[in-house]
Amino acid sequence: MKVHKAPSKPEHMSKRPHCKDKWYKLNRVSNISDCSSLRSDVAKIEKYVSNVRKDKHNLKRLKKGAKAVCFRPFNPLALERTTTHPSLTNGGAGGKEQVSDSDESQDWCSLAKSVLHQYFSGKRTEGKDSSLSAEVSPGRMEEEAFFHCAERDHVHNRTVLVMQPGQTLCFRGKCLLSCLYGRVEVHGFTIEEGQQSYPLFSPSSHCPLTVTALGDSSNPSKTEKEGRLVVKAIVRKYLSTDTHKRLLSEVYLDSCIILLEPLDTPLTRFLTSFPDLNELFGLNSREIRDNSAILDTPLSGIGVIPLRKSSEGMFMSQSYREALNGLVNACAEELDGCPVIIVCGAKNVGKSTFNRHLINTLLNHTACVDYLDCDLGQTEFTPSGCLSLCTVREPLLGPPFTHQWTPEHMIFYGQTSCETDLDRYLESLKFLWRLYKRETPIIINTMGWVKDFGFQLLVDIIRLFSVSHVVQLSSGDKEICPQLTTDFLRSSHGWHTHPPAQSALVEDGCGGHSTQHSHTLFSVNSEFEGAGRQGEMRHQRSNELRDLALLGYFSQMQSPEPGPVRPLHCFTPYQVAHSAVAVRVTHCEVAPTHMLYAANASLVGLCCLNEKVSGRGGPVLLSQTPVCPCVGLGVLRGVDMIRGLYFLVTPVAPSVLRQVNCLLLGAVSLPNVLFTGQTGIVGDPPYVTMDYSFELSGAGKFRVFKGLARPGQMRNSK
């Protein structure tokens, strides 16, 4: 059960320099003539370009994905179709919406190839295929390149950047990227001309994003002449005359042209309104130390700081690429039901980065991917402490706090690790699993606790959810947990599930269990620097990331129009009677009489119990923590004891809020800045003190001794 081997020889590569030469020739000739004779065509083409830009596809299909020669015919039919693909897509947007069976398989086929292509183009970039790389000048864009290939329109404040195939732009900051010509790849997701703009977030808390220009845009329907015209029209549209000429000389038929615009959303406004976070979209301390930023480029006014080669972007190891490739193949091949992919590994080995990459790659060809988040500590789409099942339709071009979307189904667990109540954890996951419709591939993200009971839970999850593909990430040489092969699972014990007993097998002979589910295992060794260790720079510690996720979540309350950033306490709250909603603290025992004191000004999960809640006038307290759906989070802004009302602020829509009849409190608390940064209030804010001294003995919280190995290993991350 090892990985699918990637084919070794890319045949199409010999094609590339050839077509490039042609373009060079044309370049010289057309430079003389095109100005005068072709002007009349420009208007037409401009129209074409704007049309292409306008139509947004819900279902994204790459136009040119099928260009490369197929190495591995999955399906003869698909291969045949591949050749006819361009005419179909060039007919217009209408063709793309028909999803027939063969269309589907053909897409998967080309998707698999596009991953392969990335793989090889990545290799080439590293200089292993030296004959090519020297000519195309791939690699990281540096000072020189920006001088020649980027132009900024000062009036509209946007920058047009020309990239040659294989060139990369690795950056810090945030921007809105649209591809004007050719196609580029960002974290596994391919953006090509005519598609909508995508927001990119590359904050200092995570590995910087890299934009890679992809080649093979040699669309046969587009002759060189036409291509030239299109390019001209595009560049003209976005730049003034004096600047676009210079840029045009850098454009070849296989170049990519991207447009970068400043990005200003409620999220970025809200985050950067906190003094501690105003450098969030800047450089991290190491990049400052190594002087790896290229300052003063035409991108700096946009909010993008390019990085030099010295600061490596995301590093994908061989096994990482192979796993990605294998999974894409699996999604193409799987005929009997959708693949169930689980990604596991210890903390900080790059699980969520791998997940994002995988989702993005799959989204190149399928409309949506399901995602079951079992990692309470570092959740992807929700604030931490929640378990969720989410249907992902949009690419993930930033860290989790930039896409706090409302998941389809969510359960409020209330803690950042599951060790205190393994049963409720597993029950919650089963609950979510039953809501999975099995119509799309699903990716299961797991927690980093892979020892002892954590490992047993992992075994349970693989068994219970009949996982078809296991991706096991590890770093370094030390093995933290055993390889999760099918054989291993036949004999290992989970927390709830157990392997079929020998006796049972003997008795039954060929009982139900001998046809036990088997899965494919991909072992990925993360080789990026710092793998297996928690980041130590600002905004990289897990509790800071949790705070960011919460701030990202509550930024949804800010109005979409630019305006002053409103602190949470300034919003008009919702109110509900004490007797209409039940309250429960999930993580510790609180004396019932002090319950509302504990709940005041706290983060609450807004949950829906099946039963009707009706107290006799007073508040209703739950006697145990239920496993029930949660529709979102809110802040219990205040409690009116006289009228018996809770006041709540939340981004949850009123139409959803109406179902809420239970408020759960957890160990995930509101970020401190929400308390300390309250402006405009009368009097001192409660729960904030200036005088607490940490110098006194016993003033701090528990500190777990690092040398101490204990079953609750997760505790270290708190």
Partner: protein
């Protein structure tokens, strides 16, 4: 949990305010069981609020007080109590010494000693963990002592209530060896710094001497400056020395340069250089006398690396930040002059393309460096804005002009305008360069803003600009934060919530005045949040309910084959064998 958390910004805690803290402290240490219990309940709520950040002293105190309450209740036997006390005491000793532990485990006794916990408490802990259990009497004694210790060392000192003077001395003695080591390191570092400072001073003074000698000759003979001789051998040697020094500690060198009498010349120095010091200098458009520039040119030309120039500029800007006293005007002028001079060297060459070769030569002669240096303009811009003074608009304009990638034009103009508004009050003589906007020569007032607004949007009728209106202007600004829902939105939300217990709060409340956790009419005392009556609800096994619910789901049928395998595994082996056993009976 470093010191920085306590700085200014405040720290988020579980208690509402100090009054509540004091009350809990009082209750905990009262002899009254009901009060103590009340305090324990409150601490249970604190733990809920604090989640994992509950201070260990609070937690230990609560544990010990709980033991005392149970002891006094008289319902437990001695052996029960020893076990209870035992856990509380062991946890206290272990947790409180945890922070003292370094990388290598050290004996508890020593750690406790540093915290002024006597050895017998540590021994008591050892007895409980791995020797013969102590008697109840000893446990009570230990508990009493530890509670007193906690009161003294933590509770009564916390929240600013009596950080006694002997505290400092104790904290120093705490980490004896490490502290000493650190102090020694600091001392050595400081010593080194002083030495290099002295050296830098010496070098620069000898440079000045050499230059003065060279200049004096020329001044007397009244020859044109451009004919200065090539540097003497002595001078070359000094320059080489300085260059070498700058490689190691350019920062110190710049610090010394910045002192009076170096690049900021004293009056005497200026006089001996023949500069007229009584000149009516315009502080808003600083420039250096050529002589001063040329005096230092040989040195700066040698040091014109990118790093050095950047550092120099940043330090110069820091100098500008100093409050400008009257006697400092001279200094400010020169500091700003140097900044202006350095930035000018970075001017775009294209501006000079019309000049003749000789002109260019002459210009370049006075330049510290000839080729543009890649400066970190963003940082410079920030530094410039951080040091507002009369010269800021001038310098700002230069920076904006020469930046490698200029900002959008309107941003430039706004910045310039802002800086001119900000700095104008410093001097009555207003800079002509910032007058480009015309009308507002005086002080900016609200009226001028109103006027501006009026002229911008003629269609918009502003309320009459009466005095009372202007007084309101400020509060109005902050009122922006308050969310005002339009009647439409309110109606829409109300419609969506109709039929549910939820409502949009329609009370006329200025919510922006009320921080999180406070509502109008609420008393400060947290006792108002206590519940006297409530109902408890037991949720039926939600699991079963949900399972039934999914059975009704339409799509359940589609995935039936899958479900069966999954459900099959939901039974543990035990369940299956039980079932089998049941089947055999029939």
């Amino acid at each position: 949990m470093k010191k920085k958390l306590t700085e200014k910004k405040g720290h988020v805690v579980a208690w509402i305010d100090k009054a509540e803290w004091d009350q809990v402290l009082e209750y905990l240490y009262s002899k009254e069981c009901t009060l103590q219990k009340y305090a324990l309940h409150r601490i249970s709520a604190w733990k809920g609020r604090f989640s994992h950040n509950t201070p260990i002293a609070v937690e230990s105190t609560a544990d010990l007080v709980r033991c005392q309450i149970l002891d006094r209740s008289g319902q437990l036997e001695a052996d029960d109590l020893v076990l209870l006390y035992g856990t509380a005491l062991v946890r206290f000793v272990n947790l409180i010494t945890e922070r003292q532990q370094g990388k290598i485990a050290r004996p508890l006794r020593r750690l406790a000693n540093k915290l002024r916990i006597p050895e017998w408490i540590v021994n008591l802990r050892h007895d409980i963990t791995h020797r013969k259990l102590p008697t109840l009497k000893w446990c009570r004694k230990g508990c009493k002592f530890v509670l007193e210790w906690l009161q003294q060392e933590y509770w009564s000192r916390q929240l600013g209530s009596g950080l006694t003077e002997n505290w400092d001395s104790q904290s120093e003695g705490e980490d004896g060896e490490e502290e000493q080591q650190r102090q020694e390191d600091q001392l050595i570092a400081r010593q080194k710094e002083i030495e290099s400072y002295k050296k830098a001073r010496e070098l620069l003074i000898s440079f000045e001497k050499e230059q003065f000698q060279a200049f004096e000759g020329f001044l007397v003979e009244n020859k044109p400056m451009s004919l200065l001789p090539a540097p003497s051998a002595d001078m070359s040697w000094i320059l080489a020395q300085i260059k070498l020094f700058a490689l190691e500690s350019s920062e110190i060198l710049i610090d010394v340069l910045m002192e009076d009498g170096f690049i900021v010349p004293t009056i005497e120095q200026l006089e001996s250089l023949g500069v007229n010091t009584s000149d009516n200098v315009d502080p808003t458009a600083p420039g250096l006398p050529r002589v001063v520039l040329r005096f230092w040119l040989p040195l700066l030309k040698d040091l014109n690396s990118q790093l050095f120039i950047q550092l120099l500029l940043e330090k110069l800007f820091v100098e500008l930040q100093q409050p400008s006293e009257d006697d400092q005007k001279h200094r400010m002028f020169y500091v700003a002059g140097w900044i202006s001079e350095v930035i000018l060297c970075n001017a775009n060459k294209s501006e000079y393309h019309y000049e003749s070769k000789s002109q260019r030569k002459a210009r370049q002669k006075d330049n510290i460096f000839i080729n543009r240096i890649q400066l970190r303009w963003q940082q410079l811009l920030a530094a410039c804005l951080n040091a507002p003074c009369v010269a800021t608009p001038h310098l700002l304009q230069q920076i904006l002009e020469y930046m490698d990638h200029p900002m959008p034009l309107d941003t430039q103009q706004k910045l310039l305008k802002l800086s001119s508004i900000y700095t104008q009050s410093a001097d009555s003589g207003c800079d002509p360069s910032i007058q480009h906007s015309g009308q507002h020569s005086g002080v900016y007032t609200l009226e001028s803003l109103h006027e501006k607004l009026k002229s911008r949007c003629p269609g918009h009728t502003l309320r009459q600009g009466t005095v009372s209106d202007q007084c309101k202007a400020l509060p109005e600004r902050t009122e922006d934060f308050q969310e005002h829902l339009s009647p439409d939105v309110l109606a829409e939300r109300a419609a969506e919530l109709r039929g549910s217990p939820w409502q949009v709060c329609t009370d006329k409340v200025e919510w922006r005045n009320y921080p999180l956790g406070k509502v109008p009419g609420q008393l400060k005392d947290p006792t108002c949040l206590m519940l006297d009556h409530f109902s408890t609800m037991t949720v039926f096994d939600q699991q079963v309910e949900m399972e039934n619910a999914t059975q009704h789901n339409a799509h359940a049928g589609v995935s039936m084959p899958h479900r069966i395998t999954t459900d099959g595994l939901l039974w543990t082996h035990n369940d299956i064998s039980k079932l089998k056993a049941g089947l055999q009976l029939f």
